[in-house]
């Protein structure tokens, strides 16, 4: 049987399975404890980075010097009142739709996890419906809701008694239609995010809470949701960012958002690319702000969590 000497001078048989370990082939000039360990160098990431930076630089240079793009002209449009008005509508739409989406989503998520079969089925149908129909189509439907439902009234069903009645078109303007379309679609996704968050909380937490005499509602509010929220924030942030950009869809129902406004301006000024650049600029700004906000929210919610 063949054998060799290992690092410590111990005989290691070749068939021992240890033979795959690297051997010290050359005699050492220093004691083993003084050996210097050199980290493995990986050259390819550096090469790739250099190529990427060069490509980006070339692109930016091309953009800056492109005669078709009038940068000084673009800058003058950035703070035009119409643009800022559109920006404000975009922000309002994003915030209101997300807030409403979270409230409705929470209800749907709780129904979805309920032991009540009827509520569970309703929640499933709701989620399936609002996730299946493209948001653009949903917005168009809400924008034209007056064609389906002429009047909104409160009365006793199946009788002619009405306490009041308003034409739908007066009640649901473009902004309301936009909020309805976005919030309802959003709530279906958020319901699933919330459900995942709630399921991530350890069952022991529920037992501890109920052993302390806490009711289910209280346990949900005080114990489960705060812990679930931590898990929910990254996907919710994702949803929020997607929604900010999704608000641009409401331009199809004259929603008055940022994109609606810049498209309107470009229609009269023929500065299409400049106006789109204005939109890009503002979307970049608000999404960046939202991302920063998410970072701080995550930090705040990870109290007591060790990584």
């Amino acid at each position: 049987m063949s054998a060799r000497r290992g690092a410590e001078g111990v005989l290691i048989p070749e068939d021992s399975g240890i033979s795959t370990l690297p051997r010290l082939d050359m005699p050492l000039s220093v004691p083993p404890a003084d050996l210097t360990v050199v980290r493995r160098r990986a050259p390819w990431p550096w090469v790739l980075a250099a190529v990427a930076v060069a490509a980006l630089g070339a692109f930016l240079y091309g953009m800056a010097t492109n005669p078709a793009l009038d940068w000084s002209e673009t800058a003058t449009y950035l703070f035009r009142p119409e643009v800022l008005k559109g920006l404000w509508v975009t922000i309002q739409l994003s915030v209101i739709s997300t807030a409403a989406g979270i409230i409705i989503g929470l209800v749907i998520a709780l129904w979805r996890m309920s032991t009540n079969r009827v509520l569970k089925t309703l929640a499933l149908v709701y989620i399936a419906l609002f996730r299946s129909v493209p948001v653009l189509v949903q917005l168009l439907i809400w924008g034209n809701i007056g064609l389906i439902i002429r009047n909104v009234s409160l009365g006793i069903p199946f009788t002619d008694i009405r306490f009041f009645s308003i034409p739908t078109n007066e009640l649901v303007g473009p902004f309301t239609a936009a909020v309805l379309g976005l919030a309802l679609a959003e709530s279906a996704y958020i319901a699933e995010v919330i459900r995942a968050g709630i399921l991530s909380v350890d069952a022991g937490q529920l037992e501890a809470a109920s052993a302390l005499g806490m009711t289910r509602g209280r346990t949900m509010r005080r114990i489960v949701l705060p812990q679930a929220l931590r898990v929910m924030i990254p996907p919710l942030g994702n949803q929020f960012v997607t929604l900010i950009k999704g608000t641009s869809l409401v331009s199809v129902i004259a929603g008055g958002d940022l994109l609606t406004q810049v498209v309107n301006i470009s229609a009269t000024s023929y500065r299409v690319i400049e106006m789109l650049t204005v939109a890009v600029f503002w979307y970049l700004i608000i999404v960046s702000l939202a991302t920063i906000g998410q970072y701080f929210l995550e930090r705040r919610l990870s109290r007591g969590v060790k990584r």
Binding site: Q205, E207, A208, A211, I223, G304
Partner: protein
Amino acid sequence: MNATTISPRTASTETPLVEAIGVRKRFGHHEVLRGVDLTVRRGEVVCLIGPSGSGKTTLLRTLNHLETIEHGMIRIDGRLIGYRQERDRLHELAPREVCRRRERIGVVFQHFNLFPHMTALQNIIEAPVGVRRMPRKDALEEARRLLERVGLADKAGSYPSQLSGGQQQRVAIARALAMHPDLMLFDEPTSALDPELVGEVLAVMRDLADSGMTMIVVTHEIAFAQQVADRVVFMADGVIVESGPPEQVIGNPQNQRTREFLQAVL
């Protein structure tokens, strides 16, 4: 704990605090509890021992309705737990009512189950303030006293993740005590701990036993059972095999199963 506390162990012996009669429970096809009778007097410390799968943890959990039961009945302080009686049937109570009845039963879990998003102090006052409607100031005062009692006065502001397992379990005991329980249930309170941390938790439990608290402890710590328990109950295969003072059950077991078990663990 001061030694002058009068042990209520000699007091009111008339109604037992815990009465379980003919308790049966099954998980699917497996019957985990096959007719268990257990009576615990006020101030008594009972240790449940037995091999895993013997039903001791399930029995403990049925005592405050963390598990439902299929047959039999459980009364704590003369009141049915988790059910109300209608002639010869027991109907499960609404969750809210179940909650009210178990307010005075403290539970300490194997995995502590502290609320990770709250500090030690917040963990302790959560139920007294939220469930008992105790003024926050009083609850905080008492919580600090309890933390001191379990030797963690300096950890009030620490989150569970910043505490060792032994410290977490001691906070969990303080949290349960904050509800002024008549009965404390311990479900393998030291099984998830590193060996060197077991002692500090057992010391707190011993102190609690000395203060006259009624305790039911599922444990693998035979030495603890021997020293602290008034009665040791040995369970196997969903029934109580042997029950009596520790000198008898651990010192001189009568049943073959008990002898085999003790031989294996000692």
